[in-house]
């Protein structure tokens, strides 16, 4: 457990366990406030990405598939394309962006693991 309670404010010590030696944040101490704002930044990112996830699959591919099908898109009806092709490409894009953005957030709050 990396949380220790010293009279009101939790202090999270960075545990390096069996990780290779690394210098850039061995001296850092994660404060409770830092961890909290890290978590809120994470939740904001999740909310945004899951909204896109929902819109392309359940929105374009299912709920609005019928109206979108009246639009032609490279030989496909657009609603059908979202359901059988487009949503999958967007899913990849979402995870790729998540990997990139989380790394940036990890570093900003000093909680990254490299």
């Amino acid at each position: 457990m990396s949380g220790s309670n010293d009279g009101g404010s939790n202090v999270y010590h960075h545990e390096g366990g069996n990780m290779p030696p690394h210098d850039h944040h061995d001296t850092e101490i994660l404060t409770e406030e830092n961890v909290r704002s890290y978590w809120h930044a994470n939740l904001r990112l999740l909310g945004l990405l899951l909204a896109v996830w929902f819109i392309v699959s359940f929105g374009f591919g299912i709920l609005f598939a019928d109206p979108l099908n009246s639009i032609q898109f490279f030989g496909f009806k657009l609603g059908f394309w979202w359901a059988q092709q487009g949503s999958i490409y967007v899913f990849i894009g979402l995870i790729a962006y998540y990997v990139f953005a989380m790394k940036r957030i990890d570093r900003r709050y000093g909680v990254d693991d490299d």
Partner: protein, 590 residues
């Protein structure tokens, strides 16, 4: 060279490769057996996850189902890929930080309760065995059609191979075998798809071919031609759905959430070194999966066009050899209802039930059926599972492509079977033995129990493969529905709601599980005659009911939480800890 010889060479070589890898990567400790020592490279883990995930259902059945269902088949495409977004964003990084061996491990520790752990083990075993039975059927089909051996012998051969690398190598052996199996299966899927795309549309990229014009001079696009042909034959248009929107919504949601809650997929993320590696690994997994999943709808459309072109209005005596081969093993059945010797294909079942052969040969050389004919003009029954396997023959591709597809189908089935058997054996040796019944056993003894459990699980799976229960196909909905309604909410709340307690989580899991189980059993087994949309709850089919089960799980958990006390401080500290990526060590026994 003869196609048959090529098949033996391809399948034999791939099996030798898997066994070779297993011997090279034997597991020496529980950590290696359970999570490959936690040192798998994220790209390799992504590939292994893709092979783990893509089963006989993805490789053999999915394109066939889409070929018949058209737009309605989209639920599988979106459901089985969209789940990775949930897995990558909501579960994988945090479970990696938690750093244990199994899914029940997380539930047991997070909810400080061996009851919760046992509920987790029960869900896991039920989900995994349901799944394994399906894989073994796939192995049986491939063996009986391509290797011309009895299904029994085929299943035993497949089990022997899995036995060698799962029991010897554990997670470590399975991981590197799955990397090889992914390469075999994706190559085997893409090569015929590219050939057929060129044949049908002149475009070598199937994903683009699906939107191109058909190369028959008609100037129509693939999908427009399919729509027109199918409507002519009395079907609904390929690009239009026939299911209610709410049901499509619920099924897709249940498949997505179920995917994210499947234990054999989740444990793959325990094998990478760091939290950020778990995220990267999920990205690679989806890229490798999407390669097959975006090709499948193209294969489906091309296969349906080819099938109608070659079969409809063809006299049986002039019909191609593949049709008769599949008829021989009982997956095609033709009844010459109007006595003209010509195969007519159309909407509706040709006769009641699956083909029941009398053993006699009819006037045109077909196997005579004893089924009661229906009033429809359709004369031919085709099992959906044959499409991917028959595609190279239908498109008259060279023998080595057929051999490759046989090896690919086996790779898909065996890789998933091995992953499932491993989570079953680890949950027994680790969660049941070590953590519940016999806490004093040493690492060595635990490893021995894991190997014994794996061997027993393989035996049970082999038995299910040789004597498939008649309800295999019907219980597939179980695996996803139960994972969605039980494991997924418990894990999600465990990470995102620091205040969720033991009472809430257990009550939620039990409610979700019981509701989903009862609903599926009622409509599939107790009263199958009521299994139609007017009797369903909110018009949601048993396939999609896991979505409702999940909502119930959350509601009950919140309600019970309000009436009970907060989890202990050290558990709340643990939740704080798994939310932060720093300092994720390799899981170790304690």
């Amino acid at each position: 060279m003869e196609t048959q010889t090529l098949i033996y060479i391809f399948v034999g070589a791939s099996f030798a490769l898997y066994v070779g890898i297993a011997i090279w990567s034997r597991a020496g400790s529980t950590s290696e057996f359970y999570v490959a020592g936690g040192g798998v490279h994220p790209v390799a883990n992504g590939m292994a996850t893709a092979a783990d995930w893509m089963s006989a259902a993805s490789f053999i059945s999915m394109a066939g189902i889409i070929a018949f269902a058209g737009y309605d088949g989209s639920v599988y495409l979106m459901g089985w890929t969209g789940g990775y977004v949930l897995l990558a964003l909501l579960l994988a990084p945090y479970l990696r930080k938690f750093g244990q061996f199994t899914v029940p491990d997380f539930i047991g520790e997070r909810y400080y309760s061996s009851t919760a752990r046992i509920v987790g083990v029960i869900c896991l075993i039920f989900i995994s065995f349901t799944y394994v039975a399906g894989q073994m059927r796939g192995v049986g089909i491939v063996f009986s059609r391509f290797l011309e051996v009895e299904i029994e012998l085929g299943v035993i051969l497949g089990m022997a191979v899995v036995f060698v690398y799962a029991v010897l190598g554990g997670m470590k052996g399975i991981t590197y075998t799955q990397v090889a199996q992914y390469c075999v299966l994706i190559f085997a899927y893409l090569v015929p798809a590219i050939f057929i795309s060129i044949l049908v549309t002149s475009n070598p990229i199937p994903q683009l071919g699906l939107g191109s014009t058909v190369a028959d001079g008609s100037g129509m696009s693939v999908l427009a031609k399919l729509d027109a042909t199918l409507v002519d034959l009395g079907f609904t248009a390929y690009t239009e759905g026939s299911k209610a929107v709410i049901d499509v919504f619920a099924i897709t949601f249940a498949l997505m959430v179920g995917t994210a809650g499947l234990p054999h997929v989740i444990v793959r993320f325990f094998t990478v070194p760091k939290v950020s590696d778990a995220r990267i690994s999920a990205l690679w997994a989806l890229i490798f999966i999407a390669l097959l999943y975006t090709t499948a709808p193209a294969v489906a459309a091309f296969a349906r066009i080819n099938f109608i072109d070659t079969v409809n209005n063809t006299s049986y005596q002039e019909a191609p050899a593949w049709l008769k081969n599949w008829e021989q093993i009982g997956l095609i059945g033709w009844m010459d209802k109007n006595g003209d010797g010509v195969i007519q294909y159309g909407a509706g079942a040709p006769y009641e039930g699956k083909p029941a052969y009398t053993g006699e040969t009819g006037a045109n050389g077909e196997r005579v059926l004893s089924n009661t004919p229906t009033g429809s003009n359709n004369e031919i029954y085709v099992d959906r599972d044959i499409f991917v396997l028959a595609n190279p023959e239908i498109a008259q591709l060279p023998g080595w492509v057929i051999a490759l597809v046989a090896a690919g189908g086996l790779a898909a089935a065996l890789s998933t079977a091995a992953g499932l058997l491993l989570v079953v054996s680890t949950s027994i040796s680790h969660d049941l033995m070590k953590k519940t019944l016999m806490p004093k056993i040493t690492d060595k003894q635990e490893l021995r129990y894991a190997r014994i459990a794996a061997a027993v699980a393989i035996g049970v799976a082999g038995y299910l493969g040789i004597n498939p229960p008649g309800f295999v196909a019907q219980v597939v909905a179980f695996a996803f529905g139960l994972a969605a309604a039980s494991l997924f909410p418990a894990i999600l709340m465990g990470i995102f709601m620091r205040g969720m307690n033991r009472e809430g989580a257990i009550a939620g899991m039990v409610t979700g599980l019981a509701f989903t189980f009862a609903y599926i059993v009622f409509f599939k087994f107790v009263s199958p005659e009521l299994n139609s949309s007017e009797h369903w709850f909110l018009g949601i089919s048993p396939e999609g009911i896991g979505t409702v089960g999940m909502v119930l799980n959350f509601l009950v958990a919140f309600a019970v939480r309000l009436a009970t006390s907060a989890p202990p401080d050290e558990v709340q500290d643990m939740v704080e800890d798994i939310r932060v990526p720093t300092g994720a060590g390799v899981a170790h026994t304690h």
